[in-house]
């Protein structure tokens, strides 16, 4: 629920993805952001800085990205919903803290507007080449949830969803945008308060003396306690027991890491969202996400127009990956074509899961521009002839 009436800009807007993700965060009840400017994500923080002080919230520019994400994590433990937005180089600098958030099970949202890399690359041009970094960029085993909006409307919708997922699973949720979605303007419908489902933080009902901050509760997710209420919680990035105290033994380590990875893995079916277009009778399925999925949709439509039985599997959650779905498809279609703005990232995971007879085909480039539907159509045509 949004506390302030000003917060929700209910109505129809013409908005870009960066604005929409910011409005989504506000609609989800986020009132804290700390960030550091970086193209092409900067406008997210700029809009938040302009919007949220009027709602009683806080938006601060920190001295760098390490500080930004840590201030957000601090704010979350202070009771706020918080997020930060960045792009490749800043995302890389946030990796240590993403691991800290995973280890401490901090509900946190991070937006990464992907630009072409590596390094400084093409700061103003799109890519989707941080997808495996999103999954593996911090040291050690952990899990994140990563969402890939493909329109400004979805930037809004998925921002709300991201905060909801973060609160539900106590896990860092990454919104993996791309420069095109970020700067593309379209119609965005912001619903009324009652139409938006917002998951509030669930605090423990247990009394302070009995509270164990890392005792797994429902579905493996421990309950949080409010700060400042005498729970005397201890939070550490060291391997910790149910009390939250450091416990330096392999058994605690294995139990802890298995628990917080399992809470995502074993609930993956509830977390994963994808969209299927014309899948039922498809022989060639294009798999895509983010902006690329729109070029793919155009190509699939054209293929159908040409009589080719093509379909589209659009990933909304990139992580967890819809392994089951891909396995199923690979058992019944001729070819799976992963289209992405990189040299093969989600493709690897698709390829791994495609244990059936379907061929795994990759169609990608190093970013800077998006695929033209014709290129995808050609790939579909070729695959259809396999």
């Amino acid at each position: 629920m949004c506390a302030e009436p000003l917060a929700l800009l209910t109505g129809v807007h013409f908005m870009d993805g960066n604005s929409a993700v910011c409005e989504g965060a506000i609609a989800a009840g986020c009132r804290f952001a700390a960030g550091y400017p970086i193209t092409p994500s900067t406008e997210i923080m700029e809009r938040f800085a302009s919007r949220v002080p009027r709602l009683g919230g806080i938006c601060i520019q920190m001295e760098d990205e390490c500080a930004s994400i840590m201030a957000c994590i601090g704010a979350v433990w202070g009771g706020a919903k918080a997020f930060t937005a960045t792009s490749g180089p800043g995302f890389s600098l946030m990796m240590e803290s993403i691991g800290y958030a995973a280890m401490t099970e901090t509900p946190l949202v991070v937006v990464n507007v992907q630009r072409a890399g590596p390094s400084t690359g093409l700061p103003t041009m799109p890519a989707q080449a941080d997808m495996l970094q999103a999954r593996w960029g911090s040291h050690g085993d952990y899990r994140v949830i990563a969402l890939c909006p493909n329109s400004p409307q979805e930037c809004f919708d998925l921002a709300i969803k991201a905060f909801n997922l973060a609160e539900t699973w106590r896990v860092p949720v990454l919104i993996m945008m791309d420069e095109v979605v970020a700067h593309m303007s379209e119609r965005v419908v912001i619903p009324t308060l009652s139409e938006i489902a917002v998951v509030q933080r669930r605090y423990t009902q247990v009394r302070p003396g009995e509270y164990q901050p890392y005792r797994p509760a429902a579905r493996g997710v421990p309950e949080m306690a409010p700060v400042g209420k005498g729970f005397f919680m201890h939070v550490t990035g060291l391997t910790h027991d149910a009390k939250g105290y450091p416990a330096m033994d392999p058994e605690t380590q294995d139990a802890l890491v298995r628990r917080f990875t399992a809470k995502i893995d074993s609930n993956a079916d509830d977390i994963i969202v994808y969209e299927e277009e014309e899948i039922a009778d498809a022989e060639v399925v294009v798999v895509a996400y983010g902006i690329t999925s729109r070029a793919a949709a155009a190509a699939v439509e054209e293929a159908r127009a040409l009589g080719i039985p093509a379909g589209l599997l659009r990933l909304v959650t990139a992580w967890p990956f819809p392994e089951k779905k891909v396995r199923e498809l690979s058992g019944r279609v001729k070819a799976l074509i992963m289209v992405e703005l990189n040299l093969g990232q989600m493709f690897l995971e698709m390829d791994r899961c495609a244990k059936g007879g379907a061929q795994s085909i990759f169609l990608g480039h190093a970013g800077g521009s998006i695929h033209r539907p014709e290129a995808i159509l050609m790939a579909i045509q070729k695959a259809a002839q396999l």
């Binding site: 804290f32 500080a67 930004s68 840590m70 009771g79 400042g228 201890h234």
Partner: protein, 277 residues
Amino acid sequence: MNSHPSDSYLRTDRLPHLWCPGCGIGATMNSFVEAVKLSGISRKSLAVVSGIGCSGRVAGYLKADSFHTTHGRAIPFATGLALANPGLRVAVYSGEGDLVAIGGNHLLHAARRNVNIMVVCINNFTYGMTGGQLAPTTPIGSITATTPYGSTEMPCNLVNLAASAGAVFVARWTVFHVRQLACTMAEALVRRGFSFIEVLSPCPTLHLQRNNLGHGETEMRYFKEYSRVANNTSPVEAGLDRRDRKIIVGTFVKRERAVFFDSPDSVTLVRKKKVKA
């Protein structure tokens, strides 16, 4: 009765703590507990944030909401915590490596912004946790694990750094000055804005032993003998070079300045009340 009067401020189930015999960190924590008592602030509203290091373990022993963060990032964490929850009194407690080496930039900018947190910086002249390497305060000529031929870097004067960055309350004591330290910490606890307290502390295991400076007790005697209390000394003059056999201690800076997010300039738009969760 066998219960220490500070036990209710401690996670006694974790004692004895991991610090070495003769290490001063525990003693600063003892003073901190005294300070909390003196300050009258409720223990419930106290939050302690540490980075990583021997000193960074303080958060794990205090019975407060306590956060053991990552190396160097205690201040940004504390910044978010304090801003999101202005009802808390947030103390950062960590070592000079954590706060001034890897975390130096955050110290600088938090002080400049005058974030409402107090910082206790244990200066033991070395990296204790990792085995005694060069710290930003290691005296010239010292043998450390990474300067086996003696350090050649000018050590950082922490109080001067904090003061020039803009801290509104800056003090230095040694672990020996338990009473003054407790009073100073209590004062910082009740003031608003960015305060910085440096505490010199012996690391017998690594710094003292390697440099033939004796053990904890020896260093405490040194602190006792060579400290000169000189409140209001300009921080740049507040030396502690062993070659001078003089450690200037005291409260050097007390000033008032708009606190981050209290600023009247933005008061109409950036409210001071609690963030709604």
